[in-house]
Point group: C3
């Protein structure tokens, strides 16, 4: 596939307070003034690689072919963790090799993995603490201008893989976990739509925290305000929501808590 | 009027944590790579249609002619609430038909209202939970590329109207309410500059919470730090502020509380 | 130097909730539709000129030559504080003359200071409360289109200077202060790498709050999770960090607290 990247997306845990993200954009535009930069999120909880990986995974399919996604949730910055670029069938992913990129690059979609070692495409001075600025941003910008990815370093055979907590399944039930709480307080689980195929959508029952929910809704609006509902969310996962409220707060559920789906 | 839109603005209650806004931008740039995207706000309190409508209303006049404003505060997503596009004398507004667009489109400025039904301009799969991504973003992007708005669906005769709480007025006083608290803790009321025409700016008196303020200031800086002041803000509304402090906190005033203006 | 600015960066204390920043962008794009706008930060604590100035100072070197940085932390808006444009060897800085621009424009880099008085480049109506929208954004946009800076007003001989708290130094020790807490809870001090030249990096000792730290680390990752470490950060200042944690919270240290470096 020929990439003609015009977009660089940025995902970090830097927040937007301290100017770090703006600085990365300055570096990128210094190399390629005509690239479009899109913020994916900078509010990944600090050092929370799993949440970052889930957001990246949910987003890549909605960007044009050849988009470069730069992701930096990097507690190991300055250690010997590698910096990598992953080329998939649809995207280029740039970031630390700590699993952050892995959920957006399922093994059968990976074309090649490049270990970023060519300092020609880094900033002249590489700090020990801010590779988003010094390594990942400039590499992405150079690639967006047409530098072949193989110029950025040698191929690597593999990368760190992140795995979602397992969904336990038998004929009677599916047991998963809350893996994320979104801004609305909706509880995202690791149970996918596919996991629920054996069940009747109308007759299944979802147990989480103190409640049991009968049947899947198709929309947030299908129940009255304040009522708990379960549905398949825009990521393709089972989600527990409270209309016009926070399911997480109302049910006292946090990431890691169990969710069980049974036949009603 | 011939629109040649180069800008799409985005207003949502999605926050910036979960990647939803970035995904909308990916969708837009996939359709129209050369459009400029501007964030208006993504920190509208969840499901708070009135606050979203007020922000949109305050902003449209400052954007170039023909800007497309996409607004998504959409507690009814997936229900039978309509998706609409409103063409005004200066702008195109795209979003749910729940009142959100109405304050930025006063009736005498509305050229036409389109009920967005043509799925040709939606994403191929439309979810029940994320029309910002699946409907509003792609429609706006197609229109920004030159798709005539009448291609997007049939005309509609009207849209949902939001009304600000009434200002009560007699010869002696004007009684309004706090309608928004901004980031600085400034208290925005529904009393407009026009409502105060019968009063002398120097001699009026503003009562709110535990305090009475004499006269209108022209700037935040016209009183010492920590002192409460009243002025006409950049939205054209009466606002109560504390220099270098939070009026909302200092006065214990929240949205909905009463504000009374009298002759001093 | 010939400037050919293609980028305008924005730094404010406006937050991103109320639409103020989006409105500034609408104004800019109305004047110059092809400029790239980069957010540096809008989460400067309200009215905190020093923090704004530090962020701006840390950022300018990473933007292309000729970038225009608009900075608005402006508690004196509407008073007689001047509006200025500062041309340095590398950048143009636009904002209130209250010290905000001064740390990014050290005296030996300043080419000229313009007092912004030419209302031709302001919005037609200038409010008393929002010069970001009415003065700074349109002036920056006009200059980005090629309006010579000397058209914007007369030269000024000087501007307000901000000074960092002094570092006290003798042969035995260096005493500084915490000047900022970043999003991760890292404690940034006013002690620069240069201040530490007399010391051996391995043998110095840093005292802050209840702890004493021996030696400087080169990376956040060089200590186990939860352990306090000291290093030179990406701004070039001594910083106290806790790996995968908040140093500010763990040590009970806030801005203004003392930091002492001694020979171990």
């Amino acid at each position: 596939m020929a990439f003609s990247p015009r977009i660089i997306s940025l995902l970090t845990d830097f927040g937007t307070q301290d100017g770090f993200v703006g600085i990365m954009k300055g570096v990128i535009l210094g190399v390629n003034p005509s690239v479009s930069i899109v913020d994916l999120s900078h509010e990944v909880p600090p050092q929370d690689i799993l949440t970052g990986a889930l957001i990246l995974r949910s987003a890549v399919a909605f960007f044009p072919l050849g988009t470069i996604h730069v992701a930096v949730v990097d507690p190991g910055v300055g250690s010997d963790r590698r910096a990598i670029l992953v080329e998939t069938a649809t995207s280029l992913l740039v970031g630390p090799d700590n699993g952050l990129l892995s959920l957006a690059a399922p093994p059968d979609s990976v074309r090649r993995i490049i270990h970023l070692t060519n300092r020609q495409y880094f900033l002249p001075h590489v700090s020990q603490t801010f590779h988003g600025r010094d390594v990942f941003a400039p590499v992405a910008a150079h690639v967006s201008r047409g530098v072949p990815v193989e110029e950025c370093g040698p191929s690597a055979a593999s990368m760190e893989q992140l795995t979602l907590p397992d969904v336990e399944r038998d004929t009677a039930q599916v047991v998963g976990r809350a893996i994320a709480i979104d801004r609305f307080g909706n509880i995202v689980t690791n149970i996918s739509a596919a996991d629920l195929l054996p069940f009747s959508m109308e007759k299944l029952s979802v147990s989480i925290g103190p409640v049991q929910i009968h049947g899947l809704a198709s929309t947030y609006a299908s129940v009255p305000a304040g009522v708990v509902t379960a549905l398949i969310n825009s990521w393709g996962f089972l989600e527990i929501a409270v209309r016009n409220g926070s399911a997480s707060q109302q049910l006292g559920v946090q990431r890691g808590n169990l969710v069980t789906v049974t036949h009603a």
